[in-house]
Symmetry: C2
Subunit: 292 residues, 2 copies
């Protein structure tokens, strides 16, 4: 597998920093440049050996690069792609770590229209509450999954090379369509967050909310853990993956309305069937997960 001579991280935090560390340990990268706007964070990245050099200038940094990883919030990626377009070397692979993919695909098409053969959108599934270069660590991607969503224009050799690099970080690599990616992650990640936000808002509307929060126990703790997630990040994800998310939220509303009707009517048989279907599926999921 070809070594990366020069890796540029546009965004030097948990995702980018941990990618750098893993490639360094695998001996698969030469120079790593960390780009960002937060000087203290860049200084820390340098001290911790996450990167070899730092820069606040993405345009200059990408010169001579053979791999660029966009590891910022998705909201900053369009601006960065547009900025680097003129100075990007012809065969430099460009990828990203965004947790939605159709919107990022649209950015590649809009901002790097002449470079699409070398663009490969990606989503390393290694969420964490931590951020910044100090959160970067060896082994973050060990046993984790990375989804790559190639464009029709993406060269097969680019897919193979980037997949091999992620595998060298310890990750399991999956290839799928961006639409399928966004559908799956709406269902199992985005919508649970949004349902948990809605639940918290309904709870906060109650007259006795303080007593409720006082008696909330382990079921509440686990169910609402994701409701404590970063607001701006989840607002952006909800808007970026709007179609899939709205469809799933409407399904949840329909299923909740059905549940209300069953309880109001005291329909013991159908209510049992409804809960059993959910419970059995959750128990099976857990059993299969523990087999692995």
């Amino acid at each position: 597998m070809g070594k990366v001579a020069k890796l540029v991280l546009l965004g030097t935090g948990l995702i980018g920093g941990s990618f750098s560390l893993a490639l360094k340990r695998a001996g698969l990268v030469g120079e790593v440049v960390g780009v960002g706007r937060d000087l203290a964070n860049l200084e820390r990245a340098l001290e911790l050996g996450v990167v070899d050099t730092t820069s606040t200038d993405a345009v200059a940094a990408v010169q001579g690069a053979d791999l660029v990883l966009l590891a910022t919030p998705v909201g900053q990626m369009g601006r960065l792609m547009t900025a680097i377009a003129p100075s990007l070397p012809p065969q430099c692979i460009v990828t990203d770590g965004g947790s939605t993919k159709q919107d990022v695909v649209a950015l590649y098409r809009e901002c790097l229209p002449n470079h699409l053969a070398w663009c490969l959108p990606g989503h390393p599934i290694a969420g964490s509450d931590l951020s910044g270069a100090a959160a970067a660590r060896y082994g973050l991607y060990e046993g984790r999954r990375v989804v790559l969503t190639p464009l029709v224009e993406t060269r097969q050799e680019v897919v193979e090379r980037l997949s091999a690099l992620w595998r060298a970080c310890g990750a399991e690599v999956f290839h799928m369509d961006a639409v399928e990616h966004d559908s799956i992650f709406a269902a199992v990640s985005h919508v649970p967050h949004l349902v948990a936000f809605a639940y918290m808002n309904a709870l906060l509307d109650r007259r006795n909310v303080e007593a409720c929060l006082d008696f909330a126990a382990t079921g509440f703790r686990d169910f609402t853990r994701i409701a404590g997630s970063h607001p701006a990040m989840w607002r952006d994800i909800a808007l970026a993956n709007r179609d899939a998310v709205v469809g799933d939220l409407k399904s949840n509303i329909a299923r909740l309305s059905e549940l209300v009707a069953l309880i109001e009517a005291g329909e013991v048989g159908p209510l049992t069937t409804y809960i059993e279907r959910a419970s059995n599926a959750r128990v099976d999921w857990d059993a299969r997960r523990k087999e692995h």
Copy 2:
């Protein structure tokens, strides 16, 4: 504090068995009789020292008792109360461990109308996936909460005596109205379970459900943990606490519909405010919990 001469457990599982063990360790109980229908379970209770004698006959067992704890599913409590009514000693305290309270209050009124001064509904908050006498253990109630919901007829000395016994088990005791109890537990326990069941059902309706379950990660795991709960138990709770639960589910539906509208309209400001309110409240709750 007066020692209990004869405690009768109607239902010899986690809740009743652990109450017995805690009182035995505190030296606050003489004889403990375990009543049930599952002979193997009663045998185990005896072997493990959870009870001193066993019986399948509740009517005979309560003779000479000064404390009876109903620790079966709520669905069996009415039948048991009616059965023991004729043989219950005049000043025997009767309590229960049911997780809904208005419905159990109604059972006391219906089945033990001449004994209400000695009846005190209760809810030890020590849920567990485990059941049976083998699950009973010392220390289950250490640091846990017990809510007692006195009837207007309940004598003050009964409230004081039972509160003292629960405190001797290590629990923190709260007194509140049954309506308030059911409102609080609908909000922070029952509704999260029902929302999680609805979410699982919506997920199972998807064409790509297998791929979704395959990519489900830690957020999904925690959010849906309670969806794996016992179907019959949660069906009964939903029906027993129907009014409070339905009101809260409707609030959740309203808040979800509002969220759909904000996302569809791309209302960045209000969407941010919506998520921030939820996230801040959850972060604050966690911080306060960790202080204790």
